[in-house]
């Protein structure tokens, strides 16, 4: 194979970039899923929505950043409607019904996308400042991908701070463990869960907007990405931020270097990884305590 170190450096950056995208995508899911024990299969669809909004907003205003800002907001609003209209009702309904309802939502979203944005894949360009390539320590790499890496890192840090260091984090976890008792301590569980859900959705939307200059948006993109995100979340261990981070890196690098080193089995790799991890760590690598 190639011996030139810069080649491996680039591949490492590729792995990093993919990991960060996966992180942005899955962290919302893990927060909702692990903390609310709410199985939101529609998360992928929300990512798709983010992507489409990103494109349309960029097209309308001619600025990528309009999409970057609009996507999380619009998706969060959508999430709000979903929560008030559906999820709230479903919170007590048990995981199975949640799976079903959110599966139903996927179906609806896919067709809504088709109706609004058509069957064809569409895309948008990276923002001017981040287009082209930059030179990091002698390694030439697409600037936009570097931006993704940075963004992922920032979101990571921010969330870590909130969840572990703040009262809010503790309140969320308490509400998850036992909402009745949390209420008895004066915690307005409903409201907190509502906030968490919306934040999770916003992150999905952000991921969509960020991904779209690299990938294209098409009606099934949400369904396609769903599995990888679930794998990330589960491999990492649900509900724990560390889990989402670990999961993203494992899957991201497994996919990247799998593609390079063992292309024959590349597509098997992440599933093997998933199965392997679960067999030896039945609750993922870093499960939230308890």
């Amino acid at each position: 194979m190639v011996t030139d170190w810069s080649y491996w450096a680039v591949q490492t950056l590729n792995g990093l970039q993919l990991s960060m995208l996966l992180f942005l995508l899955s962290v919302g899911l893990t927060v909702i899923f692990g903390l609310l024990h709410f199985v939101n299969l529609a998360h992928g669809a929300l990512y798709g929505l983010g992507a489409y909004i990103g494109i349309s907003a960029a097209a309308a205003t001619g600025s990528y950043w309009a999409g970057f800002a609009a996507a999380p907001i619009v998706v969060a609003l959508t999430g709000m409607l979903l929560y008030l209209g559906l999820m709230k009702r479903m919170r007590q309904a048990g995981p199975m019904n949640q799976v079903l309802v959110t599966l139903g939502l996927i179906f609806v979203f896919v067709d809504v996308f088709r109706l609004i944005w058509g069957d064809l894949a569409i895309g948008t360009a990276a923002p001017a400042i981040f287009s082209g390539r930059s030179d990091v320590f002698g390694v030439v790499y697409p600037t936009y991908r570097l931006f993704i890496i940075a963004l992922g890192a920032i979101v990571m840090a921010a969330l870590a701070l909130v969840l572990s260091r703040t009262q809010l984090g503790a309140m969320i976890r308490a509400g998850v463990d036992n909402d009745q008792m949390a209420a008895c301590l004066g915690v307005n569980v409903e409201r907190i869960f509502f906030i968490v859900f919306c934040v999770g959705c916003a992150l999905a939307g952000l991921a969509g907007a960020v991904a779209v200059p690299v990938f294209s948006a098409h009606p099934d993109m949400g369904t396609e990405i769903l599995i990888s995100t679930l794998i990330v979340v589960v491999v990492g261990g649900m509900g724990s931020l560390r889990g989402a981070v670990a999961g993203s890196f494992l899957v991201g690098f497994a996919q990247t270097f799998g593609a390079v080193l063992v292309p024959e089995v590349a597509s098997l790799l992440i599933y093997a990884l998933l199965a392997g991890v679960l067999v030896f760590r039945p609750t993922g690598l870093f499960p939230a305590r308890a």
């Binding site: 030139d4 792995g15 569409i122 895309g123 991908r145 993109m221 396609e224 996919q255």
Partner: protein, 363 residues
């Protein structure tokens, strides 16, 4: 109404847009011939799933008693219905699916293909690229039958011409979104050109990322024409400029037949035709020709279809009786920015009357 046509196309799923274009092209051909009200069209959605496609084909033939099937887009579906149409002696006019076997070892008198065969589209590029002085080529395609055939045909021809394939990668079909790792690998082999087959959203992702990684500066992107089909070339944006590809049709062909066709499509559907629109049109046109030649029932239509010959928007076309695959020109074009700033196709080479070898077909 004297005839029943069963449209076996994806109206949902990844190829829904392709199905739509083919359908429109077909309808246009009927209207042009003023036969729209003689023909009843029954549409069934294959969902791009072979089992579904087969079930729908069964329904169209056994329940609706159609005289002829039109479609499918996916090679998988065509493979699935092959035995069935053969047994029930139902002619099927293939309007996209490109798998070589359908007009090769698995051919039957009842499969007539007016679209293309996977290798037909790519074979000519081998010699042509060599003639342009390209010597070292790296190839990529999705890892499924169509992908392997399209690349296989090119690689064979290119090597035959004296070129060298410095690397070959088949990426997991429909699960690959980030081509970064593969592109870096390709870059490392320092090829004169990269030759690919990608379609749909994969094509968009690939072209954009190819450009982002700066390969355009070192190695021109070549490929099977689906790579920047007018359907989605806009989504690829500037990244697509400079790509060189071969296909059986481009909307910018400067022939009277094409001009009228493009106008007709513009008028009827308010957009420029894609290769799929033409495939649909020629499916309709060949059906019309078959009828005109006096065919009435399934058997007769099946007999008549291979004999049709006319000048299509894509140039002179005929059916090779040995394989029932279409004989047609291949157009090598470059994607360029037009005067209106929109991307368009600039014809830079034509390979005439490309005809597949019989490869194992016995009628």
């Amino acid at each position: 109404q004297d005839y029943k046509v069963g449209m076996l196309l994806p109206y949902s799923g990844v190829y829904a847009a392709l199905g739509k274009d083919i359908d429109e092209g077909f309808v246009l051909a009927l209207e042009e011939a003023g036969m729209a009200d003689q023909v009843e069209i029954i549409r069934e959605d294959t969902e791009v799933k072979p089992p579904v496609g087969l079930a729908k084909a069964r329904k169209l033939v056994l329940e609706d008693q159609v005289d002829v099937l039109v479609g499918p887009v996916s090679s998988g579906v065509l493979g699935a219905v092959r035995d069935f149409v053969d047994q029930t002696k139902t002619p099927i006019i293939v309007a996209n699916a490109g798998n070589d076997e359908a007009t090769g070892e698995n051919c039957t008198p009842y499969i007539v293909r007016v679209s293309f065969s996977n290798s037909q589209v790519n074979r000519p590029m081998g010699q042509w690229m060599y003639d342009q002085g390209i010597r070292k080529v790296y190839t990529m395609a999705p890892d499924y039958a169509a992908g392997r055939q399209q690349i296989g045909a090119f690689a064979e021809a290119f090597k035959a011409a004296g070129g060298e394939i410095v690397g070959q990668e088949f990426t997991p079909f429909r699960t690959t979104q980030d081509f970064g790792p593969y592109l870096s690998a390709a870059q490392a082999t320092e090829p004169d050109a990269v030759y690919v087959f990608y379609a749909g959203s994969e094509a968009i992702n690939f072209v954009k990322q190819y450009d982002a990684f700066g390969l355009n500066d070192t190695a021109t992107l070549h490929g099977s024409g689906f790579i920047n089909s007018p359907l989605y070339v806009d989504a690829q944006g500037p990244a697509a400029v400079g790509t060189v590809a071969s296909l059986h049709y481009i909307p910018t062909l400067d022939t009277p037949e094409n001009k009228t066709f493009v106008e007709a499509v513009q008028k009827r559907y308010e957009r420029t035709p894609s290769e799929y629109t033409v495939q649909g049109y020629d499916a309709g046109r060949s059906f019309v020709e078959a009828i005109k030649s006096g065919a009435t029932d399934k058997e007769a239509i099946a007999k008549a279809l291979p004999t049709v010959e006319y000048v299509s928007p894509r140039g002179p076309v005929s059916i090779d009786p040995a394989t029932n695959n279409i004989v047609q020109n291949m157009y090598i074009y470059e994607t360029v920015e037009g005067d209106d700033g929109k991307l368009t196709q600039k014809l830079i080479g034509t390979v005439e009357n490309v005809k597949d070898p019989v490869n194992g077909c016995e009628m």
